[in-house]
Amino acid sequence: MSLFIQELIVGLATGAIYALIALGYTMVYGIIELINFAHGDIFMIGTFVAISIMGLMGITANSHPTGLTLVSVLLVSCLGAMLVCAILGVVMERIAYRPLRNAPRLAPLISAIGVSLVLEDIGKLWKGINFVSFPQIFPQINYDIGSVNVTSVNILVIVVSVLLMLGLQWLVTRTRVGRAMRAVAQDREAAALMGVNVDRIIAITFFIGAGLAGAAGFIYGLQYGSSIFYIGFQLGLIAFTAAVLGGIGNIVGAMLGGILIGIIDALASLIPDSNAGGIGLPHGGAAWHEAIIFAILILILVFRPSGLLGQQTPEKV
């Protein structure tokens, strides 16, 4: 049982990262109905930016700053990663997606794949083809609650993600920009007629979504301690799945989906190895985690075709 709760907490932390990435997918999808395949790679660039900023601030793998230095390093690298990714997102939208706004539906999808390939190779050129270590500057403190072990990094990851998600929720539901975003998502032409600058709102959406991916990159580094040029693609795929699971286009759904998938991911590793005898899966559940995530996704979609929180909209005639 304690193992179960332990994995639940790990899953919650992983899920928070998935959720942050999933938000970018769901926001972009909600507003222009595009699966932005390059989003995962922006997340990867985010991890690299955070590493580089720390390097510029004189942090090496072995340095353990404390007090004000620690806080400033954390804040600057997180905000820096967010800002660089956000700008990258806007540039990407301007170059690769805006010219295709009225093109056939699959054209922006292919150009998104193109952007993804480009970003991946930029990451490769920038940091090489091997794993890059992420300085573990946040003090690692273990809290034992009963037999369950919670680390300070887990707590930080969850707290930061929750704060960002709350911030986004506030932005979308309470501000003028958020209202404009919802209006554009609902009916682009009508929103334009009401005086919403649609191009600007779409750019802002990319800005926020990519910024969240940058933040996810930063906390991913804190949690896992390394990054490599191709993590974006795989993680992006799972995050996209999370967005669909929650009901794509739905912000709360993306959060829920991300956390659910994180938990499924963690719990999957509890499945025993059937090669060792007994029931289970060959090589244990961890090897199958992707297959399990997708199988559960398919099952859920069979019963709820629009995701967990997606609206069952009657089709337009």
Partner: protein
């Protein structure tokens, strides 16, 4: 028909003479380049030497026969084409224009390819073509270009005109033969007096000088008949179309349908040959098709001449390109025809590959502990092709079933999930599939008298050619079938299709099954050709590449999709994969570029930025041709229609979904 052509036909009238000069020069120049600059002449001479005195040639007998057939077919087709083009020419393109076109599109590429090698030559030609198109548009704009009126004598087709057309065709073939024979004769005489032509071949030169005009005469007659049939048929249809009420006002449904389908066939034909009228006609297309098929069939003979023997040859590479074509065509059924976005297409490819991999290797014995004779199993390749494809199709249905209620991108994500699950299953079920090591020693197919190995790629080339042929045939038949029209209907509007009686469940499942079928076929070929199966070859990235092939080529359009697959394959394998080799060569332009980049980024190789270049190409193609390189006629019409609407601003005032409602509101 023969009787209509008197001997006087060979002395052409003034207008016909112009046509003759136009086309003879246009066809002769590239043919001469092929014969004298490229190795055409040498091949012909070697073949003849081989036939006349077999000891003197460096070809073996089968190569000799193949080459001989190729040469006869090639020259005969060109002769016939001369007659056909002269006969069918409507005069809408002037002499100079035709020559310039031939120069730019045939001659320059030919010379560049000879000088610079295939890849660089084609790339440079592409640049020249782009500049040419741009310059031509500019010049036409400046000169207020209007295409000339069609020749008057082509408007009516009474007996006299038919005769004239026939005469022109014969004259075309004959005079082309004469001119070509004389040119060849002169060149050969020069060769003879300079001592580089064996005396034994002089006999042939004399025979040829007589043979060519005679052959031209008869081939011209043949092509004239073809041309006549085309034009007459078109003319009849036109007059029928003008008087639909000729049989008492009853509209002949059958006839209407025929007209509809011919107009559609023509639209589709335009995708193949976006050019002037004579080249666009169905007859000319048949010529092109015959030429293309002949070229493809004889290509293995030419390959060593172009690229060298052994590992220098490109045949094996083309064999790989072939299964991409099949995959793209299969995916086109799901995405292009039925409009269902499939992001996990690679799963069926993996299933096809593993079916053959697990049956035709020692893995079969390892799993079932049944002793089998592998050389006997390899005979099972042929029936198993169908079985593997059917197994893949069955999985297509199994995947399709849960997705039926899903719409749009939810469907895409389920297919994506399936595409992710299948490789994991193959990877982790290592008891059956040998896991990450993959399966090695998979048998190649068996066929009497054919040697299947890596050093003889020709059998695989012909196998994949046959499979592609079958796939294209099946795709065309499917598209034009009741089922194909149902697919297009649900792609355009699911609700409208369903209320018109299309069974959504069945139609969608068939689309998945048909797509998966071809993917399984390709997978099985892949396993047999590679001699092994590895779980690394079936990632999401591969599914995405197949999708890119379909979209770049022109979604829903069969020729477009084939071109897309070949283009994407060529970019990846023949251009991007060779950049480093080219950069290492000091004579190449890339060498200097490479030197500059390594100064800035140490340890830079082009291999590292392959994906970057490919990604940029994807983005650029999508920005400049979002509908694909060769869009389907339907999509092109839609886009054109869209532009018209933009011009008529007033049309936007009407709500497109409920025009009646809107007008009622106005009345009130």
């Amino acid at each position: 028909m023969v009787a209509m052509v008197s001997a006087g036909a060979l002395r052409p009238a003034r207008e016909t003479r112009l046509l003759l000069i136009k086309w003879i020069v246009a066809l002769l120049v590239p043919l001469a380049v092929f014969t004298f600059v490229w190795s055409g002449e040498a091949i012909v001479n070697n073949v003849l030497l081989g036939i006349l005195s077999p000891a003197n040639t460096n070809y073996n007998m089968p190569t000799l026969i193949q080459l001989a057939i190729f040469i006869v077919v090639f020259y005969a087709v060109v002769l016939a084409l001369a007659g056909y083009l002269v006969a069918i020419d409507t005069g809408r393109r002037t002499m100079l224009e035709v020559w310039i076109d031939i120069l730019v599109f045939v001659l320059i590429p030919l010379l560049l390819v000879i000088q610079l090698g295939l890849i660089i030559g084609l790339a440079v030609s592409a640049v020249i073509w782009a500049i040419f198109f741009f310059a031509r548009t500019q010049i036409r704009k400046v000169r207020h270009y209007t295409p000339p009126q069609p020749l008057e004598n082509l408007q009516v087709f009474d007996a006299e005109q038919q005769k004239a057309l026939m005469q022109r065709a014969v004259a075309g073939g004959f005079w082309f033969g004469v001119v070509f024979a004389v040119v060849s004769l002169v060149v050969d005489l020069i060769f003879f007096f300079s001592g580089s032509l064996p005396t034994i071949l002089l006999v042939w030169v004399v025979i040829r000088t007589i043979l060519l005009p005679v052959a031209g005469y008869f081939l011209g007659q043949l092509s004239g008949r073809l041309a006549l049939r085309r034009t007459l048929a078109a003319n009849e249809k036109k007059s029928n179309g003008n008087n639909p009420g000729s049989d008492g006002g009853v509209i002949d449904k059958q006839h209407q349908l025929e007209l509809l389908s011919t107009s559609r066939a023509r639209e589709e034909a335009k995708d193949l040959v976006p050019n002037d009228l004579p080249l666009r006609s169905a007859g000319a297309q048949r010529f092109f098709l015959i030429l293309l098929v002949a070229f493809l069939l004889f290509y293995p003979v030419l390959d060593p001449l172009l690229f060298g023997f052994g590992t220098d040859g490109r045949l094996a590479g083309y064999g790989d390109a072939g299964y991409y074509v099949i995959l793209a065509l299969g995916l086109n059924i799901v995405v292009g025809f039925a409009g269902l976005l499939d992001l996990g297409y690679v799963a069926f490819f993996a299933i096809g590959a593993y079916v053959w991999g697990m049956l035709a290797s020692t893995q079969f014995t390892a799993v079932t502990s049944l002793p089998i004779n592998l050389s006997l199993i390899s005979w099972l390749f042929w029936p198993m092709l169908i079985v593997a494809a059917l197994i893949a199709a069955l999985w297509g249905i199994i995947l399709g079933a849960p997705t039926l209620r899903l719409r749009g991108d939810y469907l895409a994500i389920v297919t994506l999930g399936f595409g992710e699950i299948v490789p994991v299953v193959f990877l982790e079920m290592d008891k059956y599939t040998n896991g990450a090591n993959g399966i090695v020693g998979v048998q190649s197919p068996s066929f009497p008298g054919v040697q299947w190995s890596i050093i003889t790629p020709a059998p695989y080339y012909y196998l994949i050619l046959a499979l592609i042929g079958l796939t294209i045939l099946a795709n065309v038949r499917l598209r034009d079938s009741r089922l194909g029209r149902a697919w297009i209907a649900i792609r355009e509007d699911e609700i409208a299709a369903s209320s018109s009686g299309v069974n959504l469940v069945r139609t969608k499942l068939f689309a998945f099954a048909a797509g998966a079928f071809f993917s399984g076929l390709a997978g099985m070929y892949h396993a047999a050709k590679l001699g092994g199966v590895s779980p690394d070859n079936f990632s999401f990235g591969d599914s995405v590449i197949y999708l890119a092939m379909v979209v770049i080529g022109g979604i829903g359009n069969i020729p477009g999709v084939i071109v897309g697959a070949l283009v994407v394959y060529a970019i990846n394998q023949f251009i991007l994969a060779q950049l480093d080799t080219l950069a290492a060569d000091p004579t190449n332009v890339l060498h200097a570029v490479y030197a500059v980049i390594t100064q800035v980024i140490p340890g830079f190789t082009f291999g590292n930025i392959r994906n970057l270049i490919f990604g940029v190409i994807l983005i650029l193609v999508m920005i400049f041709r979002p509908e694909g390189l060769i869009p389907s006629a339907r999509r092109r019409r839609e886009l054109r229609h869209g532009n018209d609407e933009e011009v008529e601003v007033g049309a936007l005032d009407v709500v497109p979904t409920a025009p009646g409602f809107e007008s009622e509101v106005h009345v009130e």
